[in-house]
């Protein structure tokens, strides 16, 4: 009888054929496991998101002679965007912005307007203030005695 090469004899040899069949079964099972689709997070209940591009608004224009008031114009901006960190319990509570006296402290007055104008504050990745909010804070801080 002609002796065939080992590989070539696999098809005809019963033990080798069984081994091949087992290998095929195992590979098939592994393929199924690797591509399992368990349905987890398949879009359902995804709360969505908002994509965008970080920009810093360019703020020009003159400030009005009367100027913004703290209570009506400035405090809401600071509460919405700043006092989460610069307030009680915040990570920057040592530089508070949650009261009129705190917001008009000399050091704060010098720094705040410039940081806000170039969108260094709020710090990225927090959204920067709108052009109107930046203008309001800039004009308020520019006043010699910021109106309450």
């Amino acid at each position: 009888m002609k002796r065939a090469p080992f590989v070539g004899s696999a098809v005809g040899h019963p033990v080798a054929a069984l081994a091949l069949a087992l290998a095929l079964l195992a590979s098939g099972a592994t393929v199924v496991a690797c591509s399992s689709n368990d349905g987890v997070g398949q879009g359902r209940d995804y709360l969505g998101g908002e994509a965008g591009v970080a920009t810093c608004p360019v703020v020009n224009g003159k400030c009005s002679s009367s100027g913004p008031s703290y209570a009506a114009d400035v405090a809401p901006i600071l509460a919405a965007h700043c006092t989460g960190c610069h307030g009680p319990g915040g990570e920057n509570a040592d530089v508070p912005l949650n009261t009129y006296d705190a917001a008009t402290a000399p050091k704060v007055k010098i720094i705040s307007a410039s940081l806000v104008s170039v969108c260094k504050m709020p710090p990225p990745p927090l959204p920067s203030l709108s052009a109107d909010d930046i203008a309001t804070l800039r004009c308020w801080y520019a006043q010699l005695h910021p109106a309450k």
Binding site: G41, L47, G84, E91
Partner: protein
């Protein structure tokens, strides 16, 4: 069957079997998946499952889930407790100045599917929950698997799970889904 055809047939089948086995075998990844353990009782696999566990172990593109995330994690109310911060907003900013914002569900889990935001690293992150704000002090440079680094409890090797409130701050009333 001629010898040449038998050879080709056997070798081809054997090669396919071998490739299939090798391609799907990653013992390191498999061990990481196994280490997550079973689902918690009463919480089936889904959006509310496994809060605090590294999401991208299964959802990072290597399986076993076919749903791939770019980011995933959990936000808790406090460092020292497991109360979730449902309805918190996550802000992301990548190296190309692209932003993405999403929210946590009532289990505190959030995720961003890969098609929605495929970032350029490094990525900065911040969390807001009502008036509370926390900005991540470091950047993400490797992947968006927040819970991979944010492991409870806080140790020298981990900052603890992601939290938003100082210990004395009351939990805000924020709706969540």
């Amino acid at each position: 069957m001629p010898l040449a055809r038998r050879l080709a047939s056997s070798a081809g089948v054997g090669f396919l079997a071998l490739v299939s086995l090798v391609a799907c075998a990653d013992p390191v990844h498999d061990a990481a998946v196994d280490a997550l353990g079973p689902e918690a009782p009463g919480v089936p696999a889904g959006p509310d499952h496994r809060p605090g566990q590294p999401c991208l172990t299964c959802h990072g593109g290597q399986g076993p889930s076919s749903f791939e995330m770019a980011f995933g994690g959990t936000v808790f109310a406090y460092l020292a407790a497991n109360q979730p911060a449902g309805g918190a907003t996550i802000h992301l900013l990548d190296g190309a100045q692209h932003t993405f914002a999403t929210q946590t569900n009532c289990a505190g889990n959030f995720w961003v599917p890969k098609p929605a935001f495929d970032p350029t690293y490094p990525v900065q992150a911040a969390v807001q929950w009502a008036s509370a704000t926390e900005v991540m002090r470091t950047e993400m440079r490797l992947n968006g698997d927040c819970n991979y680094c944010h492991v409870q409890p806080e140790t020298a090797a981990s900052p603890g799970h992601t939290w938003i409130l100082a210990p004395s701050t009351p939990v805000p009333e924020v709706s969540c889904r």
